[in-house]
Amino acid sequence: MDNNAQDPMIPQLYEVTRTIRETHDSFSLYLNSKDDSDIPEFGPGQFNMLYAFGVGEVPISISGRAEKSGNLIHTIRNVGSVTSALSDLKRGHTLGLRGPFGSSWPIEACKKQDVVIIAGGIGLAPLRPAIYALLEQRDQFGEIAILYGARQPKDLLFTKEFETWRGKYGIQVKATVDSADREWKGNVGVVTTLIPRVSFDPIHTVAMICGPEIMMKFSMLALKQSGMSEENIFITMERNMKCAVGFCGHCQFGPTFICKDGPVFAYNKIKPFFETRDL
């Protein structure tokens, strides 16, 4: 299929090959192209527009690629009509897909550096392909720390993978929640409280942050306080999206289009706009 001739507004048909209930309100869909054609390559951090028949489209980050089948994985939080329709899909069902779109996490820039990954809530999903990319060439990177915060223990994603990340790959993985009951034996407190508890060399570190804007803002402050400079901090922005190809104008953030220039941004490139309210 000649992707250049492809109308970017026409979805390709994909089939659900597997569904996983991740948390009480999040689920993962494993997708294969319906006509078995090649799934396009994607960079970690990129997203697809997923179409639920008759309901609409949403931008969802790719959260991984299944090892054996090569199927695309999308981890989705059920927050509206489209995501709710997607959560009703079962194995064998069809959805529409356009993409991949957007910019990627700077894996190359992480080589020979320490890496700090900070995720909040569903934010670990767009970061997971970056984590996998780091694991694939583990010896190219220094210390790697993953700091993950969520509202409550039941909101934490991918917890089953943490032990492998720690044990097999020597990654520092720390999770925290805003509040918990006595069953939880882990940390309670906002995710920035984890930063002093991991070791990394702030002068030689790249940070990748994904989560609610406030969380990203305070995480960046804490990282700067610990000695990091802004040009090594990467965040991901989110805005209303209708087309994902730079035509509808909805996703504009200052002079950038989140769908083309983002969603991953080097913080120093967008700093003045990030700090302006209601932009």
Partner: protein, 376 residues
């Protein structure tokens, strides 16, 4: 400079006929109700002979002239974008089939437009929308096919409009590029003629079929004089020097609060503007739920839901909406598309119900913010 010749009214008519003969759909200015709009025309009879438009902030009237000029007005309420980038278009249909479905893209049809009477600012606006829709990493197929064979018979403005400022934006009044034919209408006591400049090979071959003669020096001088007059009589000025930096450095200027007390968020400016391109998509189904359609429609950054993401609107105040519109148009656009987004046509000023004038707003923002000066 292309080849120059002279034609008269009768041969202008023949030109329109010739274009229709060759399969073009001729669109031009014509009177509808109380306005001069762009619509399907078939002869010069359809043109607003002897009419002009009187434009001011929040003001538009058509008035009778004391001559028979065919193009004696400035810009219509809507621009040519309604033809190239239609207000509504169906993108595709989806048909359900059990737990699966298929998608049928909408067939693309080449309308083969010929626009008669395009102003220089409007040609620039078309070039600006070309950058958005067909010169980026993705192509808008509908715009592409509408634009493909577009034939432009442009017109040099015989007078400055009530609200326009093309000289400031370097988009006129003289038509300089991206045109097939450029006409300058000259009305002398007993003589009504058009200086015609050809701007393309196909334009040259079209006018082979009509009567024309070579232009004499004084006729060319008359045309030049008209354009000079127009340029000298601009009613407005927008200082574009360092405008991007000025706006980006003043995102918290108190003027934004002030203009927000006047702005109604009515979105007229975005509808009338020839470069505004924002759209939304709508997914609809029929009552059986087996048949779905996806439509693309014009949208405006002033609409309530424009920036909605689960749980909130990023820009929920009129202040932030107006600031977005103006900084996008005059500043961000430069980073995004290497030119200003404004062509100085003045429509946003004319069609704002409360007469907000962006040249005035720019001048105000260039002034230091009085509310922020230190009190010592």
């Amino acid at each position: 400079m292309g080849k120059l010749s002279i034609i008269d009214k009768e041969n202008l008519n023949k030109l329109i006929a010739e274009l229709n003969q060759q399969g073009y759909k001729t669109i031009g200015p014509t009177i509808r109700g109380e306005a001069i709009v762009y619509d399907r025309i078939s002869s010069i009879e359809d043109l607003p002979e002897g009419w002009t438009d009187e434009q001011g902030p929040g003001h538009y009237r058509i008035k009778k002239r004391n001559d028979k000029a065919l193009f004696g007005f400035n810009v219509s309420p809507h621009s040519w974008k309604q033809f190239l980038h239609p207000p509504e278009k169906k993108l595709w249909t989806a048909e359900k089939n059990g737990s699966s479905f298929k998608i049928i893209p909408e067939e693309l049809k080449n309308p083969k437009f010929a626009f008669i009477g395009v102003r220089s600012c409007e040609l620039h606006a078309i070039a600006i929308q070309d950058k958005v829709f067909i010169q980026g990493p993705h192509i808008d197929r509908v715009y592409q096919i509408n634009r493909k064979d577009l034939f432009t018979v442009s017109v040099n403005c015989g007078q400055a409009g009530g609200t326009c400022f093309c000289v400031s934006m370097k988009t006129g009044p003289k038509v300089n590029s991206n045109f097939d034919l450029a006409l300058t209408e000259v009305l002398e006591k007993d003589n009504h003629y058009f200086v015609v400049e050809t701007g393309s090979d196909r334009a040259q071959s079209i006018i082979e079929n009509i009567d024309k003669r070579s232009a004499q020096d004084q006729e060319l001088k008359a045309a030049e004089q008209i354009l000079d007059n127009t340029a000298q009589n601009m009613g407005r000025f927008l200082d574009t020097e360092g405008i991007k930096e000025t706006l980006f450095e003043n995102l918290e200027h108190s003027r934004w609060e002030e203009v927000a007390t006047r702005c109604l968020s009515c979105a007229n400016c975005t509808m009338a503007c020839p470069t505004c391109f924002c759209s939304t998509v709508e997914d609809v189904t029929d009552i059986t739920g087996d048949h779905a359609e996806r439509w693309q429609k014009w949208d405006s950054c002033f609409t309530m839901d424009f920036t909605y993401i689960h749980g909130g609107h990023v820009r929920h105040s009129t202040k932030s909406q107006y600031r977005q519109w103006m900084t996008h148009k005059l500043a961000s656009w430069i980073d995004q598309f290497d030119s200003s987004g404004c062509v100085g046509c003045g429509r946003c000023i004319t069609w704002c119900p409360v007469g907000i004038d962006l040249t005035e707003e720019v001048a105000a923002i260039r002034k230091p913010d009085e509310t922020k000066t230190d009190n010592t």
